[in-house]
């Protein structure tokens, strides 16, 4: 368990530091928590397996950041990758060896856009909710995390819905076994464990009190918030520079989160479909300099050059037919291939429940059908998404020192007949298809998914789930 708790504590600390901008306050808390952490380490949590190395032998390994390895060996220990290579690398004598001949191993899949676990964002009172955290709603015991593991997903960006201009703070979760959500949080290279969800287009144009009724109003409301945040940050920076705590602006949860966005630490995950809306995001980015990932991007094919020129990555979705809502009418399954050609980093996401977590590999295969290279499609499932979450140094590929997150497949990643056989998270086997109760999460069945598991995406409230 030690491995599971440490990042949570680190995350907690970083969260504190972001909420208490004055170093003085922060250090005090840090010191306190530091003592706590040491205590935890001394206690030495039982049940922490994986002291002994485990070696998987004979599989076709796709490290993703390097060439595929036939009959390769993957060795993991203490939650990390100890080594990955061909049949010539040496296996530690105390290692447990697992024969994976005929299997395929890929890195744990990163889903950059998901609504599993019951996330909630802002309510109907306000279109802009930077202070609202998905963290306070997600249920760590949700069966939907098991569904994700059955799909080979080991890390997910859990987002609130798209019914607001800014619906709140997202969380980056590792699919660890945990009694609380803190135990699943994944603190990234920027010291945060989530991004900021924004949306434009029709979903947030409710026209009701506090919500925009047009696209121009949507952008104006976004800009007003950002301008306010720029002012707040200016005051804060000046107080810190002058070391004058009296000059610090009063604490403001909304502004504190926005400062993280302006500093480029908290990435904006921007739901956008239509060409004009995509261009609006790029315009906002240019004005305020935040870091952004474009999500869904149904009409990406119309504005490929603008996206490439802006240097922003895209997290796309593949759906089985166009439409279902006005903005998805011009969806093209070729988006992935075209973005790749233009040199734009591409991840592919589920937007679960829009597509199911168990079919994320299928989504990547559909891009391959439409002309994306197999290599980029594999990256789109793993390292590309990891980088979009600022987690690329720790997850998303099979490399020495990285987290031992990987998926054992029965065959080619892009074949309909391939099943996820095992999903490992930080050296723990979290899904095993040979165990019937695990398999049930892969295929479904009686009382596998309780009714209360229904994802709470805002989209659902007005458009989807109409009827059954």
């Amino acid at each position: 368990m030690r491995f599971h708790i440490m990042p949570a504590i680190a995350g907690f600390l970083r969260k504190l530091s972001s909420h208490y901008p004055l170093k003085k306050i922060c250090m005090k808390k840090l010191a306190m928590a530091g003592v706590l952490m040491k205590l935890l380490l001394l206690l030495g949590f039982p049940g922490h397996a994986q002291e002994k190395p485990i070696a998987f032998k004979g599989a076709l390994i796709y490290p993703v950041t390097g060439p595929a390895i036939e009959k390769g060996i993957l060795i993991v220990q203490k939650g990390r990758i100890l080594a990955v290579g061909d049949a010539t690398i040496s296996i530690p004598s105390d290692a447990e060896t697992i024969d994976a001949t005929g299997k395929v191993i890929i890195p744990g899949i990163v889903d950059t856009h998901s609504h599993i676990g019951g996330p909630e964002g802002g309510d109907n009172s306000n279109a802009l909710n930077p202070e609202v955290r998905v963290l306070d709603a997600v249920n760590p015991a949700s069966n939907s995390f098991k569904k994700a593991l059955a799909g080979g997903i080991t890390t997910a960006n859990i987002m609130p819905g798209s019914g607001h201009l800014m619906s709140g703070q997202t969380i980056y979760l590792k699919m660890r076994q945990s009694d609380d959500i803190e135990g699943m949080l994944e603190v990234n290279e920027k010291g945060v464990y989530g991004g900021m969800k924004m949306a434009n287009g029709t979903n947030s144009m409710r026209g009701t009190n506090g919500f925009p009724g047009t696209r121009a109003k949507s952008a104006a409301m976004d800009r007003e918030l950002f301008i306010k945040a720029v002012e707040y940050k200016k005051k804060m920076d000046s107080a810190i520079l002058k070391k004058d705590s009296a000059k610090m602006p009063e604490r403001d949860l909304r502004m504190e989160a926005m400062v993280e966005v302006l500093e480029g630490r908290r990435v904006v995950h921007f739901h956008t479909h239509k060409m004009n809306d995509i261009l609006t995001v790029l315009r906002l980015k240019k004005e305020f300099g935040f870091r952004v990932v474009l999500h869904h991007v149904s009409e990406a094919w119309k504005v490929i050059d603008a996206i490439a020129a802006a240097g922003v990555p895209c997290s796309i979705i593949n759906i089985d037919a166009p439409g279902g809502k006005l903005e998805a009418m011009n969806f093209s399954p070729k988006n992935g291939a075209l973005l790749e050609k233009a040199g734009v980093p591409v991840a592919i996401h589920t937007d679960d429940p829009i597509t199911d977590s168990r079919f994320l590999m299928r989504s990547a295969a559909l891009s391959v059908r439409e002309g994306m290279s197999r290599q980029k499609a594999l990256e789109a499932l793993t390292i590309a998404g990891a980088r979009m979450l600022d987690l690329g140094s720790r997850i998303g590929s099979l490399e020495k020192g990285k987290d031992a997150d990987f998926v054992l497949l029965s065959g080619d990643p892009f074949s309909v007949y391939t099943h996820v056989e095992q999903t490992w998270v930080e050296g723990f086997k979290r899904f095993d298809r040979s165990i019937p109760s695990d398999k049930s999460f892969a295929v479904g069945g009686y009382k596998v998914f309780a009714p209360e598991e229904n994802a709470d995406d805002d989209d659902k409230n007005y458009e989807w789930n109409d009827g059954r």
């Binding site: 759906i319 089985d320 037919a321 166009p322 439409g323 279902g324 809502k325 006005l326 998805a328 009418m329 011009n330 093209s332 399954p333 070729k334 429940p353 829009i354 199911d356 079919f359 299928r362 295969a365 559909l366 391959v368 059908r369 439409e370 002309g371 892009f414 074949s415 309909v416 007949y417 391939t418 099943h419 295929v443 479904g444 069945g445 009686y446 009382k447 596998v448 998914f449 309780a450 009714p451 598991e453 229904n454 989209d459 458009e463 989807w464 789930n465 109409d466 009827g467 059954r468």
Partner: protein, 404 residues
Amino acid sequence: MQKLLLYILLLSTTLTLHAQIAIKGDKVYTMTGEPILNGVVLIKDGKIEKVGASLKIPSNYTVYQAKIVTPGLVDARSVVGLSGPLNIPIDQDQLEKSSPIQPDLRAIDAYNPDDTLIGYLRVNGVTTIHTGHGVGALVSGQTMVTKTKPGLIDAVTLVPLEMLAMSLGSSVEANFTSPGTKSKEIAMLRTELIKAQAYDKKLSSRDSSKQPSRDLNMEMLVKLLHGEVKALISANTSLDILSAIRLAKEFNLKLVIEGGAEAYRLIDKIKSAGVELIVHATMARPYGEMANMTMENAAILTKAGIPVSIESGYEGYVPKTRVILFEAGVAAANGLPYEEALKAITLNPAHLLGLDKRIGSIEKGKDGDIVLYDGDPFEYTTHVCKVFIDGQLVSDNCQTSDSK
């Protein structure tokens, strides 16, 4: 623009409708026996003329070649053409909410053959659809069968009145204030069917003064009671499936269960009741009344000797329709034997719709509905390369599933 070109192409092909074509396939799945290696399908005047291994191709036949060849795909249950892709009131005609029981609503009065989604299905190998009124009313209206080729409704429709679409369960309660309970649903249906029995009795009276005045709803329900049309009942939970079976037994209805998410729990009941089954899309979302669905449903039922057809069904949001080719592929990956999975989207639905003499397999005399692939039809990365309907080439694109 591309659409316009296609129309021009189709128009010109109609002029040369009697063109003769030969389709060569490394493997031809006829659905009537073992697949034919190096098979040839000859089509003349829109009908299949001959099929066999390494047939001699007459010189005046245009030759097409593919790795895999199957019959045109038949979607057992859809609402495409009535429920359009925009999801705004002007393109949603699958569910009239003014009353929970409306058997008089005809599908042909609503079907739009120009719908974008029909083009999308066509490009993905679907040549025939059973479509019509949707899920969500006790009796939502009638269904029809149509080819997916472009054209005016009268030219493309195969069967203007196929079945009567009915639903049980929470979707009905969500759309109407009454019925508000499952018991009330059944009570209302029974009441209406008993009324129809009385109407029918009056109809057969020799005394012309006792003849009832015309009632479109009653006329349709009489057809249902006489078994002239089947009762297509959407039911997913065990409870609703059993209620549908009970209702069908009481009124001697020819019952087709649609959805059937929990059908795998009721093998014996379904077998002994002789119910026909259209199962939900394999990749449907396991929510609400489908919470207990399994991707192995089709496999379990087939293994128990119950033939199944796989439907695209109804989608309220994104994606606005499913594609049976993809759904059958995932069923094949979850235990449904390969050729049974192909049958579930060809011959089985053709049989269910009473059209197995015309469509669903590659046999002499049947419609020239053929799909050509560049690989295993079920593989994610395979392309549907060419689609023929009645011997006309209606789709020709080996690169993409996109219909734009």
